[in-house]
């Protein structure tokens, strides 16, 4: 962020853990114009308190934008919680079928009119009609899909938490999650379909585990109809930003809308094959 915004545009950026409100307050400077958060955060599933951070931003003459991609508007609507902007990657839950790409900014006309002229018309970031049409069609079933994602992910998270071969599970719908109370307040009716977890195993066992999966596909992105998993190794350059338990390599899993019994059985048989059951 710093390279791009400071070196090219002379915009200073500060990275803070926004699940810690004191850290947010401490990072505010007289020239702060925008606080941008993502909750649940990628890939740690950290929860930030939208309303509380909106209040901090507004008290200091700044605006708040929230990346809502992990929750989708079915589970969480940041603007109703006093945020000024919502960002969505439409590629994920809103399209929901893993076959189109798009993004959205939602907010007040006074800002969006300027952004539309600059980023879309003058810089050319416009979506193609075909992608817009695909997303329009995919989004019709968002509530139906999200109910299933919410339900399946909670079941997978609870099942993983009960396994001795699993080192940790990060999912905001688990009572063990640090942000559970805030998530319960600002996310309704569910906590989304993405979770992260680790294995009590070395690097290569993680790859072996993935190679045995039959229902869950090894691929990035999330919010597709099908379950996806990605192994993030212990040498990730962004690791210093993550909590301790993420430092030995971990999986980010996007729980799909398949039959829950098949998803759990797929995880179970793969754990068994690497002797972690």
């Amino acid at each position: 962020m710093n390279e791009l915004f400071n070196n090219k545009f002379h915009v200073e950026t500060t990275i803070v853990d926004t699940s810690n409100l004191d850290a947010v307050r401490a990072a505010i400077r007289p020239n702060t114009k925008l606080i941008h958060i993502e909750t649940p955060g990628n890939p740690t599933l950290t929860i930030s308190d939208i309303k509380a951070i909106a209040d901090i931003a507004h008290a200091n003459g700044a605006l708040l934008s929230v990346d809502n991609t992990f929750a989708s508007p079915f589970n969480q609507r940041p603007i109703e919680l006093s945020a000024d902007f919502t960002i969505e990657s439409l590629t994920k839950y809103i399209n929901g079928h893993g076959d189109a790409m798009g993004g959205a900014i939602i907010g007040k006309k006074e800002h969006l009119n300027i952004i539309r002229t600059q980023s879309q018309i003058n810089l050319g970031g416009t979506i193609s009609p075909f992608n817009a049409w695909l997303i329009m069609r995919g989004s019709v079933t968002l509530p139906l899909r999200m109910r299933q994602h919410n339900e399946n992910a909670l079941k997978v998270a609870k099942w993983l938490e009960s396994q001795s071969g699993v080192s940790f599970v990060a999912y905001p719908g688990l009572e063990s999650h640090k942000g559970y109370e805030i998530a319960k307040r600002q996310m309704a009716p569910g906590f989304g379909g993405v979770l992260s977890f680790g294995l009590n195993a070395d690097h290569d066992i993680h790859n072996k585990f993935v190679s045995h999966l039959k229902v869950i596909t090894s691929a990035v992105s999330l919010g597709h109809d099908e379950s996806l998993i990605v192994f993030l190794g212990e040498n990730d350059e962004r690791q210093y930003l993550y909590p301790e338990e993420f430092h030995n390599g971990f999986f980010r899993m996007s729980v799909g809308i398949e039959d829950i019994e098949d998803i759990i059985e797929d995880l179970r048989q793969a754990l068994e094959k690497v002797n972690l059951l």
Binding site: S65, I127, V140
Partner: protein, 120 residues
């Protein structure tokens, strides 16, 4: 905009199904078609046209019909006044951040935008 406006008196799923859709004026189809054309007919005297305008239908980089239908729906679902749909999630993030590029400070949570920028 469709003929019917589905306001907040309607539920989330109803707005999701109906907002942005309408009967196609030419064919009577009950789903709006894809308009792939990248340009629209100009008025009798085009010298007065603002080529950087997003109002009306002019040129698809300035805003396409299918994009506008989707924007209408998403503004409704998110409870916002307006919406811009762009080519990717990162295009949306950079569109917003560039808007504040006159300012001097921003804050980010845990480097998420950099994660997305590598297609994560």
């Amino acid at each position: 905009m469709g003929k019917e406006i589905y306001g907040n008196e309607y539920g989330f799923q109803t707005r999701d199904v109906h907002t942005g859709n309408d009967v196609d004026g030419e064919t009577g189809a009950i789903k709006r078609p894809i308009t792939m054309a990248n340009s629209y007919e100009l008025p009798y005297d085009p010298t007065y046209v603002n080529w950087s305008s997003a109002a009306g239908n002019l040129y698809t980089r300035n805003g396409g019909s299918n994009q506008k239908y989707l924007q209408e729906k998403l503004a409704s679902l998110e409870g916002g006044e307006d919406c811009i749909v762009l080519a990717s999630g990162v295009a949306a993030l950079s569109g917003l951040f560039l808007h504040f590029s006159k300012a001097e400070t921003m804050l980010f949570f845990q480097a998420l935008p950099t994660l997305q920028s590598i297609g994560f």
